[in-house]
C-alpha cells in the first residue's frame, strides 16, 4: 500500500471491527504511534531544558519568583487549538510542519515546569546548602551535584504531568493535519468509523501510561535514597 488509507470513503460495513480495520494497516498505525511518541516527548525535553534556568532564577532571586511563576502559569491558559492555528503564521512555517506542534507543547511544558523546578529547588534544606557551600562547592557545582539531585522527585512528578498532558494535547494537533494518533480520531469521526478511534484511543492511553511509568522508574533509579527515607 503506497499512500495512507485516509480519505473520504463510504462508511464501512462494520464500523466497530478493529481487526478488520487493522488489516494491512498495522505499519501505518505504528508509524502514527511513533509520530505521536516523539511529538509528545520532544517538547518535554526542550521545555525542561528551557525551564531549568528560569526555575533556578525564580529560586535564586526571591523577588522574581512570583512574576516568573505567574507569567509561566498564564501561558498554560492559552487554548492549545489557538496556538496550533496561530503559530505557523507567526513563525512562517508550513502548515504541516511538526514544529507547529512542538512549539506550543514546549510552551505548555515550560508553563508547568518553571514552578515545579523553582519549588523543587526551594525544597532543599537550607543547612544542606550551607554545608555544601562551606565544603567548597561553587554555586554551579552545588546546583548540579546537590540541589538538582535532591529535587529530582519533585521535578519527576512535574514531568509526569507534563508528558501525560502532552500525549493528550498532541492528538488535538490533528486539526492542523500533522499526522499522529489524533489523525485516527478525525478520520473515524468523518466516516462514522469507530474502529480507528478505538485503536487511537487505546494506543494513546497505552503511550501515556508507558511514558508515565518510564519516568516513575527513572526517578526511582535516580533516587535510591528515597526508599531508605520511606522505610523509616
Amino acid at each position: 500500500m503506497s499512500s495512507p488509507p485516509v480519505g473520504y470513503l463510504a462508511a464501512p460495513d462494520q464500523p466497530w471491527n478493529v481487526q478488520h480495520y487493522l488489516d494491512g494497516k498495522v505499519g501505518y498505525v505504528l508509524g502514527l504511534l511513533w509520530q505521536h511518541l516523539w511529538l509528545s516527548v520532544l517538547p518535554v525535553v526542550i521545555g525542561l531544558i528551557i525551564a531549568l534556568p528560569i526555575g533556578y532564577a525564580a529560586k535564586r532571586f526571591k523577588w522574581t519568583y512570583t512574576p516568573l511563576v505567574t507569567i509561566s502559569g498564564l501561558l498554560y491558559t492559552i487554548p492549545s487549538l489557538a496556538l496550533f492555528v496561530v503559530i505557523p503564521s507567526v513563525i512562517g512555517t508550513q502548515i504541516l510542519d511538526p514544529i507547529n506542534v512542538v512549539i506550543p507543547l514546549t510552551i505548555y511544558t515550560i508553563a508547568l515546569m518553571v514552578r515545579v523546578i523553582a519549588d523543587g529547588l526551594r525544597s532543599v534544606d537550607e543547612t544542606v546548602l550551607q554545608a555544601a557551600s562551606a565544603m567548597g562547592y561553587s554555586r554551579f557545582q552545588r546546583l548540579l551535584k546537590v540541589e538538582l539531585p535532591i529535587a529530582i522527585p519533585v521535578i519527576g512528578a512535574g514531568l509526569r504531568v507534563a508528558v501525560v498532558a502532552n500525549v493528550g494535547m498532541v492528538a488535538v494537533a490533528a486539526v492542523i493535519g500533522v499526522p499522529q494518533l489524533g489523525t485516527l480520531f478525525s478520520y473515524g469521526k468523518d466516516l462514522f468509523y469507530y474502529a480507528p478511534i478505538v485503536v487511537g484511543l487505546v494506543l494513546s492511553v497505552a503511550l501515556a501510561f508507558a511514558l508515565d511509568l518510564l519516568i516513575v522508574l527513572a526517578v526511582r533509579a535516580l533516587t535510591p535514597w528515597r526508599k531508605a527515607v520511606a522505610a523509616r
Binding site: 534544606d125 543547612t127 544542606v128 550551607q130 554545608a131 555544601a132 557551600s133 562551606a134 565544603m135 567548597g136 562547592y137 561553587s138 546537590v146 539531585p149 535532591i150 533516587t223 535510591p224 535514597w225 531508605a228 527515607v229 522505610a231 523509616r232
Partner: protein
C-alpha cells in the same frame, strides 16, 4: 592560628553584627565564641571561611589573608560542622564523608577507605556506611557531620552550635568523644555556642561577645568563672560560678578511707551486718563500685541489683574537686566513692574532707596573690 584584625560586619540596612573584633584563636586549641543571640558569634565564625564577607578588617589564617584566596580553595581547607549536620540526603554516609577528598581529586577507592576509618574514629559502626542520612538518629548524623568535616584533614575546623540539636545525654557523650578526638588531632577549632556550660566544658579559651558584636572578655574557662570582667560577663556566666569553677581545680590526693564492701549475690543479712551508718557499698566482680546497699531495710537471700541505691555519683582519682565534692554530696552514706582510672574502687571521702581541701587551696592562692 586564626587572627581577627579589627573585623567589622555592617549590613546594608545599617545593622552592625560584628564591631571591630580583634581575636586570636591559637593553633591546636579550641576557641569558643559564646554570647546571647545577636552578639555576632555565628557571623564571626562564617567570616572565617567567607560564607559572609567582612565589611572591613582582615582575617588571617596563619600567614594568609583569607581575603586574598579563592573561596573554594579556602573552604576546602577548613572543616565545617553545623547544628543539624546538613548531611546530603541523597548520598550514603560513606559518600557524605568522602565529599571533600573526592572534590580534591582523591580517587574513589582511597577516599572511601579513609571515610570508613573516620566513621570508626568518630564512634560509628561501619555498618552505617551504606545507609542514607535519614536512617540515622540525630546524634549519629552529627557524628557523620564531624567525620565529613575531618575527611580532608583540614588544620582548621569551624563548628556552629554542633551539639545543640541532640538530647542532653547524647550531647554529653558527643562532648566527651569530641574532646578525646581533639586530643589526638590537635585541630585549630573555633566553636560557636549559646550555652556557657558547653563553652566551659569544651573551650581552651572562651570569647564572650556582647550584643552589637564586641568582645566582652577573652579568657580560659577557669579564669572566666573566677574573674568575670564586668557585670555583663558575670550575668552571662551565671550562677554557681564558685561551685562550677571547682570543675577546673585538681582534687590532688584526697584522704581516702578504705571501705568495707560486699559483692553482688552475697547474703543480705551478712552484708547488712557490715554496714556503717546504715549503708554498705556493693561492688562487682571486677572490683567496680555498683551502688549503696541500705542496711536499715534488710531483706533475705542474695543481694540483687534491685536492692542498690543508684543516686551516688563516682569521682575518678586525679579528677576535679567538683567531681569529688559531688560524689560525697550525692552518696546516701555521705561517703563519696572514688575510683581509679580502671574504674576499680579506690576508697571513699566525705564532703567535709573535700571542703577542707578546697579551703586549703584557696588559702594557698591568697598567699600566692599577696606575694
Amino acid at each position: 592560628m586564626i587572627k581577627f584584625e579589627s573585623v567589622t560586619k555592617r549590613y546594608p540596612d545599617g545593622t552592625v553584627a560584628v564591631n571591630g573584633l580583634d581575636l586570636v584563636a591559637p593553633s591546636g586549641q579550641i576557641t569558643v565564641l559564646v554570647g546571647p543571640s545577636g552578639c555576632g558569634k555565628t557571623t564571626s565564625l562564617r567570616m572565617i571561611n567567607r560564607m559572609i564577607e567582612p565589611t572591613s578588617g582582615r582575617i588571617w589564617l596563619d600567614e594568609t589573608d583569607t581575603g586574598t584566596v579563592s573561596t573554594s580553595k579556602l573552604r576546602r581547607g577548613i572543616g565545617y560542622v553545623i547544628q543539624h549536620a546538613g548531611l546530603f540526603p541523597h548520598r550514603t554516609i560513606v559518600d557524605n564523608v568522602a565529599t571533600v577528598p573526592l572534590m580534591l581529586g582523591v580517587d574513589k577507592k582511597t577516599a572511601r577507605a579513609q571515610a570508613m576509618d573516620l566513621l570508626v574514629r568518630v564512634g560509628l559502626d561501619p555498618a552505617f556506611a551504606k545507609r542514607y542520612p535519614a536512617q540515622l538518629s540525630g546524634g549519629q548524623q552529627q557524628r557523620v557531620g564531624v567525620a565529613r568535616a575531618l575527611a580532608a584533614d583540614p588544620p582548621v575546623m569551624l563548628m556552629d552550635e554542633p551539639f545543640s540539636a541532640v538530647d542532653p545525654v547524647v550531647r554529653a557523650q558527643l562532648h566527651e568523644e569530641f574532646l578525646r578526638l581533639q586530643q589526638d588531632l590537635g585541630k585549630t577549632i573555633v566553636l560557636v555556642t549559646h550555652d556557657i556550660d558547653e563553652a566551659v566544658k569544651l573551650g581552651d579559651q572562651i570569647a564572650v561577645l556582647r550584643v552589637g558584636g564586641t568582645l566582652a572578655q577573652l579568657a580560659t574557662p577557669a579564669d572566666l568563672l573566677a574573674r568575670p570582667a564586668d557585670d555583663f560577663v558575670a550575668g552571662f556566666v551565671g550562677r554557681d560560678r564558685g561551685y562550677r569553677s571547682l570543675g577546673f581545680a585538681d582534687a590532688g590526693d584526697l584522704p581516702t578511707r578504705k571501705e568495707v564492701t560486699v559483692r553482688l549475690g552475697s547474703d543480705f543479712a551478712a552484708a547488712a551486718a557490715l554496714a556503717e551508718d546504715g549503708w554498705v557499698l556493693a561492688i562487682g566482680d571486677a572490683g567496680e563500685p555498683l551502688g549503696w546497699l541500705d542496711a536499715s531495710h534488710p531483706g533475705t537471700g542474695p543481694i540483687g541489683p534491685q536492692h542498690l541505691h543508684r543516686g551516688g555519683t563516682v569521682a575518678t582519682e586525679g579528677g576535679s574537686l567538683r567531681a569529688a565534692l559531688d560524689a560525697a554530696l550525692s552518696a546516701p552514706s555521705g561517703r563519696g566513692v572514688l575510683v581509679r582510672e580502671d574504674n576499680t574502687l579506690l576508697g571513699t571521702v566525705t564532703a567535709s574532707e573535700v571542703v577542707a581541701r578546697i579551703e586549703e587551696r584557696a588559702a594557698a592562692e591568697r598567699i600566692e596573690a599577696a606575694r
